[in-house]
Amino acid sequence: MSQVFHEIEKKIISVLKIELKLTPEKLEKLTLLSPDQVRRGIEWLKHKELAIVDASTNVEYSLGKNGLESFQRGLPEKRLLDLIKNNPKDISDLQKELGSVFGPAMGLAKKNDWIDAKENKIYLKNYPSNLPGEKSLKQIGEGITSETQLDKADLASLLKRPNFLVENIVKTKKISLTKTGQSLDVTSPGSGAIDVEAKVPDVFVARTHPLKDTIDEIREIFVTLGFTEILGNMTQPSFWNFDALFTPQDHPARELQDTFYLDGISSKEIGTPEQIRKVSESHKKNWRYFWDINEAQRMVLRTHTTCVTIKHLAENKSDEARIFSLGRVFRNEKVSYKHLVEFNQIEGVVVGKDASLRNLMGIQREFYKRIGITKIKFWPTFFPYTEPSLQTMVYNERLGKWIELFGMGIFRPEVTKPLGITKPVLAWGGGIERIAMLKYGLDDVREFYNNNLNWLRNVTKCQ
């Protein structure tokens, strides 16, 4: 146990060493501390076994309405006895004289055989030397008296009477020092030290959102790998989100149940006439259906950030480029621990004559290495706009299983040719929340958007 004391503790100990046993109220007066400081100080000393708190319950009495009247005019039975002390009196006269206390006075006097009644007259039989209750009545008077100072038997007679006494239960605490406490010297030179081992209050840091931290980390990794960030709108014409990416207009991914369409909003300016013509021709030739420009004009919440990069490539037609786009994407899903309707995605492309599938895999491996994932493998998969297509599987030690992360591939000629892109384009992308979940050990993706202060204030920043 540390022998370093808080200023409050020191003041309490100093006073108790002289006064020995005090109530908190007395301690407040003698130490000049606030009630709250005294309360805390007592708690600390008690916890350190330096002080003892004796709690006791005491009953105090003051006089009620009838008690006060009796105190001023005498007990009813005394008043009755006094009236007939010298001569018997008529009952009616006594009633008039005593009013409401006549009944109780008569009852008591009869019961104790102090009086006699004959032909409507009351006679004194004997005058008692002391009346039960009178002593207590006088003791209490107009003040407050503790039960311990009163004669129990005498008090009992007052307690039976209505509105004579007001009972007040008082809990009192008395504080004293234990032997160890008594032996302390809180005025010694070392006593300026503070309790460095004591607990201190929690404070919370202001911080960036944990998911933002992951987003920033990923953004920086790609910048250091030579990629330039581009931004684009979250609301997009279907043309860039789907048609330009060779997704036929009757593809299930384009249905209302998978994609969010904006109610009644279409864009008239979806691309250049040449882009529109060539994209529609590619669809007609390969998918064999009637391509409808109205369908391409319908505005959607982008389902991937690929629409941003493909539009950039179509507008710039670079021979060499490394670009990426990062931001919110949307899917019409039921929200669950696995799925959100809105999440973040990163998507990047490499344009160049040397672009190859192995290079694409190399970029992925390097990226995962930099976020601390080394156990990865590649599996084939399918995307409408890339060929060949792969997905990365990463091993998660905590879950003991392989998890699918980024998808990737080489843009199909059916995508690039109509848009005038002549060099091969490597593309990859995937959700960021999944990576953040692995990083923060979360099993419920919704936690990122709950803004639960308990989590935000306490989750470890660097993981």
Binding site: D202, A206, R207, T208, H209, K212, D216, R219, E220, F222, V223, F227, T228, E229, L231, N233, M234, T235, D250, P252, Q257, F260, Y261, L262, D263, I265, S267, N286, R288, Y289, M299, L301, E320, R328, L340, V341, E342, D354, S356, L357, R358, N359, M361, G362, I363, R365, F378, W379, P380, T381, F382, E387, P388, I410, R412, P424, Y449, N451, N452, L453
Partner: protein
């Protein structure tokens, strides 16, 4: 994505010499994702572009290739025959113009095969059939159909006994009372005429794309099958037929030709295609240096045929591989046959200089400043609800941008402001210690000509002593330190804020946002027990375009 359940013992029988472990390890390299697995079976998810993987028979073909047990393309052997013909009447042209078909004889159908076939049919309908709209299949007991058949139209009062029933129903009754009728009836439109396939005795064989007749039901006793596919386009119908034909031939049926004519219909060809590719392209795309012979052997492992022709490789693609459009698809087939696991990742040094977007970088600086001022960063969805955006704050809701058919009540409207979300966040944290100070930067959406996307900053501060001057100090400091901007505040009013305790914010005389004490009604609506102050400003047009 569709899922198919595979029994290991059946797969082993179909593939040849292979262990369960080998199968389980190889499935992903066919592009099949393992959903779940137990001792006897495995459930895999396959891409809808490979409908041949809707059965274990199709998957077994792929596994045989990768294992080298059987390689090269599977050639369809369709016996020429004049026994089976379908005549098409012109009435169908405007409703469902095309029919194609094939006969498969001398097979054995056990319960497992029957289940696989039904599964395949369902998946084909959902996937390439586009919920039966584009094309749909009927599989019949050949011996219950009396050829020649006629594909024609009939009225909605025509009657027959539909599959799984013992009673006659009219077309109208089928469309109204049966699940399939209600689900797919819309494909036929409102015409009084519907397509019907009838046999030479006048018995209904099927009512495409809704339901078959009970008479032709396939059971485990069926030996010979008749398959018809109807659709709105000839090529798609034949594509679908080619998958079924391939699977049935692999299940040891003998295929026999069906002759089709009339109203622009013709007999199915189910021909192989040839695509020529330069090996250099394959090597460039994959980053490999394979010899032609290695490429050919890889393509064969992907169950295609290939041979050298001069400098090029000519690849023969069976009809059921209509997912292959051109040379790039052959690059992938080569990679799969070669084995993705054999491709070693390489990192070519970057010739480009990376750069963060200026907007991202400014938003990051702004976040750092807000954090320095003691504010915690929150993140909310841009797609939120009317309750959060308008009802709880009594904000004017006449320019709502909503999405169609959202599956989630809480995500139906694009936010036009960030502040309401932050107030909602406070309401969910009333049991956490105060002060609570939150900020968020993000996109808001405004209905204009189409949609304007702008970037905003909003902050809230909640505690017993929170007041106007505190939040004004914060905003003032943030914009001064961050961008050397001075703010002015002018008395204003807005439903989000308390009358008399709010202001509009101006920079260089232009209004950029609002600041003040949050309206007590909103605070009450959210059961927050302390005063809340806050602001929201447009960053677009202020610190970037």
């Amino acid at each position: 994505m569709p899922v198919v359940t595979l029994s290991y013992s059946r797969l082993q029988k179909l593939v040849g010499k292979v262990s369960k472990k080998q199968i389980s390890e190889l499935l992903p390299f066919l592009g099949l994702d393992i959903e779940s697995e137990d001792k006897n079976s495995v459930r895999v998810e396959y891409s809808p572009n490979r409908p041949d993987y809707s059965t274990d028979i199709g998957i077994a073909l792929g596994l045989q290739g990768l294992l080298g047990i059987k390689t090269g393309a599977l050639k369809l052997n369709v016996r020429k025959s004049n026994r089976f013909t379908i005549n098409v009447k012109s009435g169908v042209s405007k409703i469902r113009p095309f029919i194609t078909g094939i006969v498969a004889t001398n097979g054995k159908i056990d319960q497992e095969l029957l289940e696989q076939i039904i599964q395949m049919q369902e998946d084909l309908h959902m996937g390439i059939g586009r919920k039966r709209k584009k094309s749909s299949i009927g599989i019949h007991d050949l011996d219950s159909c009396s050829f020649p058949l006629t594909y024609t139209t009939t009225t909605r009062i025509a009657k027959f006994i539909p599959l799984k029933s013992t009673q006659e129903s009219s077309i109208s009754e089928i469309l109204e009372n049966l699940d399939v009728g209600r689900e797919y009836g819309h494909i036929l439109g409102n015409s009084g005429q519907v397509p019907i396939l009838i046999d030479s005795n006048g018995n209904t064989v099927s009512f495409p794309p809704i339901i078959n007749a009970a008479k032709t039901t396939v059971t485990t006793k069926t030996k010979n099958l008749f398959i018809e596919v109807t659709g709105i386009n000839k090529e798609d119908a034949e594509d679908m037929l080619s998958v079924v034909a391939t699977i049935l031939q692999s299940a040891r049926f003998t295929l026999e030709h069906v002759k089709i004519s009339g109203a622009k219909n013709s007999s199915p060809k189910l021909v192989q295609r040839k695509i020529s590719i330069n090996p250099t392209v394959i090597n460039q795309m994959l980053g490999l240096n394979l010899k032609s012979s290695q490429i050919i052997s890889s393509l064969k492992k992907s169950r295609l045929d290939a041979s050298s022709k001069g400098k090029n490789i000519v690849c023969t693609i069976p009809a059921y591989r209509f997912d292959i459009f051109g040379p790039m698809d052959l690059v992938e087939e080569t990679a799969l046959g070669y084995g993705i696991q054999n491709l070693e990742p390489t990192l070519s040094p970057s010739q480009t200089l990376g750069q963060i977007s200026p907007i991202s970088s400014q938003l990051k600086s702004l976040s750092q400043i807000m954090i320095g001022l003691g504010y915690l960063e929150a993140l909310n969805s841009s797609l939120t609800s009317k309750r959060v955006l308008y009802d709880m704050t009594n904000r004017n809701s006449n320019k709502i941008i909503s999405v169609l058919d959202s599956k989630s009540q809480e995500h139906t409207i694009l936010r036009d402001s960030i502040l309401p979300g932050l107030l909602e966040n406070l309401s969910r944290n009333i049991h956490e210690s105060y002060p609570q100070k939150l900020f968020e930067t993000g996109t808001i959406f405004l209905k204009n000509n189409i949609i304007d996307e702008k970037t905003n900053l909003a902050a809230v501060c909640a505690h017993k002593e929170a007041n106007f001057s505190e939040i004004k100090s914060i905003l003032q400091a943030a914009l001064k330190i961050g961008f050397n901007l001075e703010i002015e505040t002018r008395t204003s009013s807005h439903e989000t804020f308390q009358e008399g305790k709010m202001a509009s914010i101006l920079v260089h005389g232009k209004t950029i946002g609002m600041i003040g004490e949050i309206n007590s009604n909103t605070i009450e609506n959210y059961k927050i027990r302390v005063p809340v102050v806050g602001f929201e400003i447009n960053l677009s047009g202020l610190i970037f375009d």
